[in-house]
């Protein structure tokens, strides 16, 4: 049994312009201790997916349909009370903004122990001890002192560590990290990723990493899922995806990352590749492949036939009519 299994997730928002299909028929699963990354550009439904797992989306205007199972149990049938027990307990979440994710009026120790007390019913002293333990776990120096400090006295990286400590305080089985490194500078990013990787190994916590940064994915995940306009367009394990991206969108994303040594100006200049066009308006109905209007390889068939996700190679899925199949792999 998978730890988390999402099947045919649909998240729709009622807007004045019509129904926005933020997530449309998404399926994925995570095993215990696995690291799955969801990549995609802004507005492709990454965060909405993660929030609907915890049922954190306001409904209405949101509407969630589909099957979300955690340890085989259907989350949609859970009461609000049961969901609360799950949030922060079995499934916890790290947010993008470490600067604003901590309440400025409480010490970090208080905030961590609050979560512990909420879920384990531990008394104040035990909860505080646990807070210090997790602060050690996330590598905050002199945790006995730090536990009594207010968030404004910590640097961004330290705050993100404190956030991770808070998320880990109740030994979650699944940690959802929604762009955990976006607000941090590159050195700290690397440290936080190292930390998450190390924690995953040590505590066997599955991690669902949401990011738009392919560098972070390569660094961290085992399996990657590429999303575009609320759909999954490609899924593969990391090495495979980076070596042989099969969906034109994934290829476009990778070409759009500047590479070291690439000449940007002068005689030998080569403009950074971009994906032409814009993300489709999700309130409009469309036929065929979502990516077709921007796809360099699009042909007639793409505009009226939805390619659907197909296994192109062992464990490598892509939703494209023209994605090379297994045979093509040797040539590439």
């Amino acid at each position: 049994m998978k730890l988390l299994e999402v099947r045919d997730l649909q998240v729709h928002f009622e807007t004045d312009k019509g129904v926005n299909r933020a997530v449309d028929g998404l399926s994925f699963s995570i095993d215990t201790g696995e690291a799955l990354a969801i990549v995609g550009e802004s507005g492709c439904g990454k965060s909405v997916t993660s929030m609907s797992v915890l049922r954190l989306l306001p409904t209405p205007p949101g509407k969630i349909a589909g099957d979300i199972r955690f340890r085989g149990e259907d989350l949609s049938t859970k009461s609000e009370r049961e969901m609360r027990r799950l949030r922060g307990g079995e499934i916890s979440m790290i947010f993008q903004e470490p600067m604003s994710s901590l309440n400025p009026v409480y010490t970090i120790g208080r905030q961590i122990s609050e979560a512990v007390r909420l879920h384990t019913g531990a008394n104040t002293r035990a909860a505080r001890k646990r807070a210090i333990e997790v602060l050690i776990l996330v590598g905050i120096p002199s945790p006995e002192k730090r536990v009594d400090e207010y968030p404004h006295r910590l640097s961004g990286g330290m705050r993100q560590r404190a956030m991770i400590a808070m998320a880990l305080a109740c030994n979650p089985a699944l940690l959802i990290a929604d762009e955990p490194t976006t607000a941090l500078d590159v050195t700290i990013q690397a440290q936080i990723l190292d930390l998450l990787r190390d924690l995953r190994k040590r505590t066997n916590t599955a991690i669902l990493l949401i990011t738009h940064d392919l560098g972070v994915v390569a660094e961290f995940a085992e399996r990657v899922m590429v999303m575009y306009a609320g759909r999954k367009v490609e899924e593969a394990n990391v090495a495979d995806l980076f070596a042989h991206p099969r969906h034109p969108y994934t290829q476009g994303l990778m070409d759009a990352v500047p590479k070291l040594g690439q000449v940007r100006s002068g005689k030998m200049s080569k403009a950074l590749a971009e994906i032409p066009g814009r993300v489709p308006d999700l309130t409009q109905a469309f036929e065929g492949c979502v990516f077709a209007p921007r796809c360099p390889r699009a042909e007639d068939v793409c505009t009226h036939l939805d390619p659907g996700l197909e296994e192109k190679a062992d464990g490598h899925f892509a939703a494209c009519h023209f994605a090379p199949k297994e045979a093509a792999r040797d040539k590439a």
Binding site: G89, S92, P141, M163, L168, R202, T203
Partner: protein, 304 residues
């Protein structure tokens, strides 16, 4: 399963962090705040004096504020009656000193009740989406009527001026302001990431209100409460002045002035002294409020 790892384990990052110098211990934080905000200090002192006067009114003024003596009507200030006497020969000093009681009780009472009820209404409006529109339109409707007019109307409805009725009438007129402020604070705080993070941690709605929303609304509401206190004092004086408030058997600065109104050109002392008391008290409360606001939100302090 995640026990504390042994210290020797390699935390490259952790070890590379320099030891951070701890801040000096906080000493006399209260005194420092006061020194930094002299307006608060001044307002607080003045208000304390008025409060002492109100509490010890029987000791400070030796004569009965309601004792009439037609023989010494409309006397100018003298050694016997420091502020003179009114048309019925009552000692204006005694009446003014006792008047402080009414003013303070009304001011504080209104501030307290209006804050409590207003916060409950504001929290409900901010949290219960469907109720928001209904509640706030009612509040808007109430705010469209000037507070004094509304209070007069309510006093008429309640028939009979007692201190409790005056407090009630002014409280109802002041509630919308607190409700609005609370609601706006709730709306801005509930969208903050740390509230979202707390929800993701499994905190219940009541827990969110108690732990995250309330502490963040207390500061602006406290400041607002002082302004309400000051405006309630003025409203009470106005009500009593026009005769809609307290009867003259309960001395209030408003009704003392009302009695001296007809004579103010020849005997200004009847109006003058209670007016000074009222002005100084309201000023004290406002100074305290300004000081509090500056202490709570230092960004505003530099603007004035």
């Amino acid at each position: 399963m995640t026990s504390a790892p042994p210290e020797q384990e390699s935390y490259v990052v952790a070890r590379a962090m320099p030891a951070i110098i701890s801040a000096p211990p906080k000493r006399n934080a209260m005194m420092r705040t006061l020194r930094r905000h002299p307006t608060m200090w001044l307002g607080g002192t003045l208000l304390a004096l008025v409060a002492i006067m109100a509490i010890f009114a029987p000791i400070i003024s030796t004569s009965d504020p309601s004792a009439m003596n037609p023989a010494v009507r409309v006397q100018p200030p003298s050694a016997e009656a420091w502020f003179g006497t009114d048309m019925l020969g009552r000692d204006i000093f005694a009446r003014s000193v006792y008047g402080a009681r009414v003013s303070l009780i009304v001011g504080i009472g209104v501030a307290l009740f209006a804050t409590i009820v207003g916060m409950i209404i504001g929290l409900t409006a901010g949290f219960v989406r469907w109720a928001d529109g209904i509640i706030m339109r009612i509040m808007d409707g109430m705010m469209s009527i000037p507070a004094i007019l509304l209070a007069i109307a309510l006093m008429t409805l309640m028939r009979g001026g007692s201190v409790m009725n005056v407090i009630l009438a002014i409280t109802i007129a002041e509630i919308p302001r607190v409700a609005r402020l609370t609601r706006s604070a709730v709306l801005s705080v509930r969208e903050l990431t740390y509230v979202e993070a707390a929800v993701a941690c499994g905190t219940s709605k009541l827990g969110i209100i108690r732990l995250h929303i309330l502490p963040n609304t207390v500061a602006p509401i406290t400041v607002q409460a002082t302004y309400i206190c000051a405006s309630a004092m003025i409203t009470e004086a106005i009500l009593s002045f026009i005769g809609a408030g307290l009867p003259t058997s309960i001395p209030s600065w408003g009704n003392i002035m009302a009695e001296g109104r007809a004579l103010w050109q020849v005997k200004p002392n009847i109006v003058f002294f209670p007016a000074i008391f009222l002005s100084v008290t309201v000023l004290a409360v406002n100074l305290l409020g300004d000081g509090l606001r500056d202490a709570v939100d230092p960004r505003l302090a530099k603007r004035v």
